[in-house]
Amino acid sequence: MPINYYIFLSIALFCIGIVGVLTRRNAIIIFMCVELMLNAVNLLLVAFSKMHYLAKAATDVNTTAGSDGQLFVFFIMVVAAAEVSVGLAIIVMMYRNIHSVDVNFLNRLKH
């Protein structure tokens, strides 16, 4: 499968995530759009890893080229899981204080 297709699919998913972050007001949905962007990047990393592996496997049969990319995806998932647990705790605390998850109410730093 040509690498172009994966690049454009990832760009489209990433831009959908960005539009979601810019247009929605619900903090939880903004957070979900961030996860969507992370997943777009993960998909592109895996595709590039397989591209790199195919280029190297022509000369060396049991090469491990490209496993770095997949391990980066693994670490991105680890960081995303930690981020979600802390972020949702922050959203719960915000809901407890202002009884809403609308990010437009969170402009108190202005005053």
Partner: protein
């Protein structure tokens, strides 16, 4: 047009459609469910690329753990009705326009890259199997692996401290 191509296009269309439904549906619970569909189709892409370990981890961690956490928080706060007030129309148009411009710029910039003709290997290659990735993870990347356990511990402590009353 063999079965791999058909699967690729089906999974791509499914991923894009469900991602669009995530940002357009008014009910947060529907957004979460559509996001789960997106994650499953991305896992299908991983299986197509023969990255089996990441496909399983994606389903277990994202669709299994993180999305349940989201759903739990939404149900806890009783947000499962469309209470979101209408946003300023122009802000929505501007957001969509900004995202569309980014899409346009990225596609235009990457349309003629030098890696254009390269192929990403599908259906073959044992780089993504658990055996190979595990060897690499526990030899070259053992220090980041251990550090990520400390990250998890600190995230857990942070979540408990933030979520605690008083």
């Amino acid at each position: 047009m063999n079965i791999t191509h058909v699967l690729f296009w089906f999974l791509s269309v499914l991923a894009l459609f469900s991602a669009l439904m995530v940002i357009t549906s008014r009910n947060p619970v529907h957004s979460v469910l559509w996001l789960i569909v997106t994650f499953f189709s991305i896992s299908g892409h991983y299986i197509l690329l023969n990255a089996q370990f990441l496909a399983i981890v994606n389903i277990i961690v994202y669709a299994g753990a993180i999305m349940v956490l989201f759903l739990f928080v939404i149900m806890l706060m009783n947000l499962n009705k469309s209470t979101e007030p209408k946003k300023n129309r122009w802000l929505q148009v501007a957001g969509g326009l900004a995202g569309g411009c980014l899409l346009l710029v990225l596609v235009a910039a990457l349309r003629d890259t030098e890696i254009k003709g390269k192929i990403a290997q599908v259906n073959d290659g044992n780089i993504g199997l658990i055996k190979n990735l595990g060897k690499e993870l526990f030899s070259t990347y053992v220090v980041p692996f251990e550090i990520s356990s400390i990250l998890f511990l600190s995230a857990m402590v942070g979540a408990v401290v933030i979520g605690k009353k008083e």
